[in-house]
């Protein structure tokens, strides 16, 4: 018996989505094979890692990662420039944390000004994320879309409870949109359908089936993402073909493994490496299961994931 490479080819294809304006714009998706199996299909674009910044000081980030940005994080523009110029970020994800009613309740107008300032300061693509407060995001992200009009940003996240206004704004100002549902392939599919029924082009959509941290439900995220990919490729389900988004940093940098000092948990080893490894391995698992666009925090974790991606392609 001689060995024949067992190849599988699919009818479906992951949609490719470009974002950003000018020569730093990026493209994700376009795959006609499962993640990193380039021997049997096209994988034209690497997963992209965006550096997360926020519109207020990251007081809620654990020290290990907060310290990395201690000289720049007081101001989102400085922080964004630092990521672009010092850390060679490919993209920036600006989270409008301070618009959350519990985190300062800043107005949509203030958020718009921050977005305009950041956009004026950097030329890499911008992902604009709300505070994950359903009602507040519904107004903040509408203003955000307007403030970033013409910049081809990624805006998110639109969820079942607030997607209508956000979709309309993304449509009007020509942005890409993240649709988020909670760890269920059917919910992800349903939300994509609802959004496209509003006239939003599925080729501008990015699916966030909800990330989880290593050790905290990662297996669910991993399998939901694999199933979405298989549905898009093998079953050629058009509603399951948008690229996948993974909000890695915010899930990782709150679990005990990224926070607890070594003297509290001597069996867990040094905190500095542990935190970086936790974010790195969470992200590695995400790209293996199909994530195309990731948002991460620690520069060393991002560096390790970019090296891993370079080895994988």
């Amino acid at each position: 018996m001689s060995f024949v490479v067992p190849k599988e080819s699919f009818n479906g294809k992951v949609l490719s989505v470009d974002f950003g304006a000018g020569d730093k714009s990026l493209v994700i998706g376009g795959d006609s094979a499962l993640p990193f199996l380039a021997f049997e299909g096209e994988i034209p674009n690497k997963p992209v890692i965006a550096h997360e910044i926020q519109d207020c000081a990251p007081d809620d980030w654990p020290e290990t990662v907060r310290n990395e940005y201690k000289d720049v994080s007081g101001d989102p523009v400085t922080w964004a420039k630092h990521c672009q110029d010092q850390l060679n970020a490919k993209a920036i994800a600006l989270r409008l944390v301070s618009t959350h009613p519990d985190r300062g309740d800043r107005s949509a107008e203030e958020a718009s000004q921050t977005i305009k300032d950041v956009l004026a300061a950097v030329n890499i693509p911008l992902i604009i994320l709300g505070s994950n407060h359903i009602e507040k995001d519904a107004s903040v992200l509408v203003s955000a879309a307007e403030a970033a009009s013409g910049q081809n940003c990624v805006i998110g996240k639109a969820q079942e409870g607030n997607y209508k206004t956000i979709v309309a704004a993304a449509l009007a100002h020509n942005h890409k949109l993240i649709a988020m549902s909670e760890l269920d392939i059917n919910l992800a599919k349903q939300l994509n359908i609802l959004i496209t029924q509003m006239g939003f082009d599925k080729e501008k959509l990015i699916t966030d089936p909800m990330c989880s941290a290593l050790g905290y439900g990662l297996e669910y995220t991993y399998s939901v993402m694999e199933r979405i990919r298989l549905a898009g490729l093998a079953q050629n389900d058009p509603t399951m073909q948008p690229p996948i988004f993974g909000d890695v940093g915010m899930y990782v940098w709150k679990v005990k493994e990224t926070v607890a000092e070594e003297n509290e948990v001597p069996d867990w080893g040094t905190l500095a490496e542990r935190g970086v490894a936790w974010e790195t391995l969470t992200a590695t698992s995400m790209i293996l299961s199909g994530t195309n666009l990731l948002v991460m925090r620690h520069p060393r974790a991002i560096e390790n994931i970019e090296k891993t991606v370079d080895e994988l392609v």
């Binding site: 694999e226 493994e257 490496e273 590695t284 891993t308």
Partner: protein
């Protein structure tokens, strides 16, 4: 090639004697075809039929142990490509490589011996030590292997050495540990197979690419060694994911026997975190043994956790222990909430409570791993059961006001609970976990 139930039936005695535990020979044949029974259950089957069936009904990926004793690691026997289809059964062994010239050899072996940690009820440890013959000297190698074996009495041993004479001496010194010999190449296959066969040890077949590897495993099998581990020569992460995927597909979907064995991947890198990342590629993508160069505690914790996630049974909800969890540093005046023990429910609820920065008590009740609404619908999260759990938990002595916050999804239970939990105030909390921070801060 696998046989159909009818083809198997023709080979059976057709006496319907029921000794196999099935009502008829046909029923037994059908079960054999699905891999759900073993031919040895039939006392009357002919040797000839047994041989035919044995070959055809062997699992597509051969299964055997790495190491001996109760810490031995079972490998192989996987049946699917994706974990959502069916559980990945035998978690990838984590092995650390040491060189026989390394002064820290014994210290590494001792670290392996003490590497066990507990994570959500499972005891996890570095499973194996790979001893590399870097000296090129048989005596040095044998001494190193002996020293490692002694310092790490429960770990599986991997003899990472392509020199048959050095391997032979080392194997003799630790034969009772059934070391995995790594191993055989096209050049030394006959000599290595002879050693493996004489000591009943498994053998790694190393070749460059899958075609050469298939030829080599057939050759080794011809020399009488059946417990083979595959090393395709994959070095980069791309080669690891591509080779491992092709190996598993060939074995499962094409019944290609020459690659129906467990896989070993070497992922050694200069940077320890990058090494962990590449190791996690191997763990997720079908390796049975992953060899790393160092075992810092943070690194093995992350790898064990990832392995546990990948190898969790997707059909059985992950559960957390039933108890009152303290989040932050709660005092007698802190809020007291309840939820069910589905791990995802617990992770999300406890995460949101943490986010709120309001120290709290969270009662997690055993509902067989069901989420709140499902557990309520299934009659496992009822007023009577909640009341019994709260009373037995002893929480009443820890808090000043007897107030229980119930998930909004089961607001309907609040009346019945007030009747059953005398002296308690039952408050209905938010329906969704993401509303918890606002809710808790609003109370404070």
């Amino acid at each position: 090639m696998a046989l159909t139930g009818v083809q198997i039936f023709k080979l059976l005695p057709k006496t319907n004697c029921k000794k196999c535990g099935f009502p008829t020979c046909l029923a037994f044949a059908m079960k054999l075809a699905q891999g759900g029974a073993d031919i040895s259950a039939c006392p009357d089957v002919s040797e000839e039929a047994k041989a035919t069936l044995g070959e055809a009904s062997a699992p597509p990926i051969r299964s055997f142990n790495l190491g001996t004793g109760d810490k031995a690691v079972k490998m192989g026997a996987e049946t699917v490509m994706f974990r959502h289809e069916k559980k990945f059964v035998n978690p990838c062994a984590v092995a650390v490589n040491v060189k026989d010239t390394d002064d820290n050899l014994a210290a590494t072996a001792e670290a392996v011996a003490q590497s066990e940690i507990d994570r959500v009820g499972q005891k996890l440890r570095v499973d194996a030590i790979s001893i590399e013959c870097a000296s090129g000297d048989s005596a040095t190698y044998e001494a190193a292997v002996k020293s490692v074996a002694e310092k790490a009495p429960d770990a599986a041993l991997i003899l990472n050495c392509k020199d048959a004479a050095a391997v032979e001496a080392a194997v003799k010194a630790v034969a009772d540990r059934k070391p995995l010999i790594n191993g055989a190449t096209d050049e030394n296959a006959e000599a290595m197979a002879a050693i493996a066969k004489a000591h009943a040890c498994p053998l790694v077949a190393s070749a460059d690419g899958l075609e050469a590897l298939s030829t080599l495993t057939e050759k080794i099998k011809g020399f009488g060694v059946e417990d083979i581990v595959l090393d395709s020569g994959a070095k980069s992460a791309k080669e690891i994911i591509e080779h491992n995927t092709q190996i598993r597909r060939a074995a499962l979907k094409k019944s290609f026997k020459p690659l129906g064995y467990p896989v070993i991947n070497n992922v050694i890198r200069d940077d320890s975190i990058l090494e962990a990342s590449i190791a996690s590629v191997a763990i997720a993508k079908y390796a049975s043994i992953v060899v790393i160069s160092s075992i810092e505690k943070w690194k093995t914790l992350a790898l064990f956790t990832q392995r546990q996630n990948i190898y969790t049974d997707p059909q059985v909800p992950m559960q957390v222990e039933q108890k009152i969890y303290e989040i932050g540093e709660p005092t007698a005046d802190s809020p007291f909430m309840i939820t069910t023990n589905f791990s995802l429910t617990y992770f999300i609820v406890s995460g949101e409570v943490e986010n709120s920065k309001v120290p709290s008590f969270l009662a997690v009740m055993d509902c067989e791993g069901l989420s709140v609404l499902t557990a309520w619908a299934a009659g496992k999260f009822t007023a009577a059961k909640i009341a019994a759990f709260i009373q037995e938990s002893g929480i009443a002595d820890k808090i000043s006001t007897k107030e229980l916050i119930l998930p909004g999804q089961v607001a309907i239970l609040s009346g019945a609970l007030e009747d059953k939990l005398e002296g308690w105030k039952i408050t209905v909390g938010p329906r969704e976990a993401n509303a918890i921070p606002t809710y808790l801060k609003g109370r404070a």
